[in-house]
């Protein structure tokens, strides 16, 4: 069972806990997030990374930070589920990769990088996963329009002869 007090003792008092319905969320400063995740992985048996998502808070009412990264952890023995969240602000969009802890993070981090441009230091192969390599924008950011910026019309056309 992950208790806020244990995190406070280990990592200082700038970690906060909130609850909504049955979700328990811990907001951790980005500099400490890897240490917190490593701690819950090693000591508390959170052996499954169920989800890793990015959120862009550009137009969110009352938001002070631009990006959020959400780690959704499950203890596969007890079934306990916690959400660890951290905030990031440009230009410093970099987090330590958690692939050494959970292999599942490999593609999820690539997707967050692809969609939001958040880099993960130490990732084995951080490249785009859903969008093509030559794509320059980050489509799930709030300042990217729903219908795109005309990239589709500017894609290089490959003819049969040169393919």
């Amino acid at each position: 069972m992950l208790e806020l007090k244990a995190l406070h003792d280990q990592f200082g008092y700038d970690i906060t806990e909130s609850r909504f319905r049955d979700n328990r969320r811990f907001l951790v400063p980005s500099a400490k997030v890897y240490h917190v995740l490593e701690y819950v992985w090693r000591e508390l048996g959170f052996d499954t990374l169920a989800d890793l998502a990015g959120v862009d808070y550009l137009e969110y009412p009352g938001a002070t930070d631009r990006f959020g990264v959400v780690y959704n952890l499950v203890n596969s023995v007890t079934g306990e589920r916690v959400i660890v969240k951290t905030h990031l602000n440009p230009p410093d969009l970099e987090l330590p990769s958690v692939v050494p802890l959970w292999h599942a993070a490999d593609w999820m981090e690539r997707e967050v990088y692809d969609m939001f441009g958040i880099k993960f230091a130490g990732h084995p192969a951080l490249r785009r996963i859903l969008m093509p390599e030559e794509f320059t924008a980050y489509p799930l950011r709030k300042d990217y329009p729903l219908k795109g910026r005309g990239e589709r019309h500017n894609f290089p056309v490959i003819t049969r002869a040169e393919s």
Partner: protein, 406 residues
Amino acid sequence: MPLTLADTLPAETNEREYLWTLNFGPQHPATHTTLRLVLTLDGEKVVDAVPHIGYLHSGFEKLGEHLDFNQYVTIVDRMNYISPIANEISWHHAVEKLLGIELTPRCKYLRTIMGELMRLHDHLLNVGTAALDLGAFTAFLYGFQQRENINDLVEYASGQRFHASYTRVGGVMFDVNNAWVERVRKFIKGMPATLAEVDNLLTRNRIFIDRTKGIGVLNKADAINYGATGPIARASGVVRDLRKDEPYLAYNDFDFKVVCAEGGDCYARYLVRMQEMAESLKIIEQAIENIPAGPVNIDVVSDAVLPAKPSVYRSIEGLIQHFEVLMPNRGYEVPCEEIYAATEAPNGELGFYIVADGNPRAYRARTRPPSFIHFAMFPHMIRGYQLSDVVAVLGSINIIAAELDR
């Protein structure tokens, strides 16, 4: 230790020169959908596999930020199109948890029945095509016969055979009648015979066992670390099923088992899926006999649910209610909150992380797609096996590219 090819080479030779590269997909019958693998082979042995995905990426999550909670159901339908209603149930499960809506008992039972029909729908296709890729054609046809019957049931209930868009916030689009219940009863009677036929064709089939047993082994520790869920995790011995662990809908009321196996190979995954279909039938049998009477949608006064069409056309109250729900800034009271909710879809844990900002649409609608996470472990599962095992492993992990790429 026997000599390998690399040992016989002079030390300065780059051993990669002796490996060759094979492109598999994106258009290949055994990928079933559009995905691509670049395989590095040593003779017929797979040394490495690099998946390339994104061919079907169509920005579902971006669309989720622009469509309201009821409209987006048509999009989640098209994620895992092998079990469309299971996605709808998952999406509205998350939305209802966000809004704090408690469903009526009848709706819970109805959604449970639909969810389990979709599990049958998905597993029948997966078992059939996994065998089809290995050359066993007949089981696939038997499976499709029953999938057709499930499509008929869905059509009778929702008016659409496949992409039903059946669920709504706080209920479902149409209630079912006794004739539908009779049809489901008839379907349940016919289904065990199909399962027995598939079982007879495959479970003790020498060729099928040779092609699947001990192939694509995923041990328990790796299954957990790579984030496997659903039948794939359970075939590796991970005892986890959200229907039992985090009960939702009416699953608490029913008696069923969580099916697990120990092998972690393609054969174990096949066995788990076959047994799960038997358990799903048990759930449907219990649910259809105990389906409660009463309204299928939550109370109309709550401003959350669309009124029935006849009352929209024939009464002023119904018309007002319809407008109240559909107009922006009316209808639901959405909290400024974030929530993660997941259900046990046929493929594994299908979850939605919704960030809401008070508007009747999601600010961010993140999907946790099981196919995406399962395909990420494919290189790990195939390394060291033969080229012909690629289709066996690919078939057994049931990758749906529309869900993979969203």
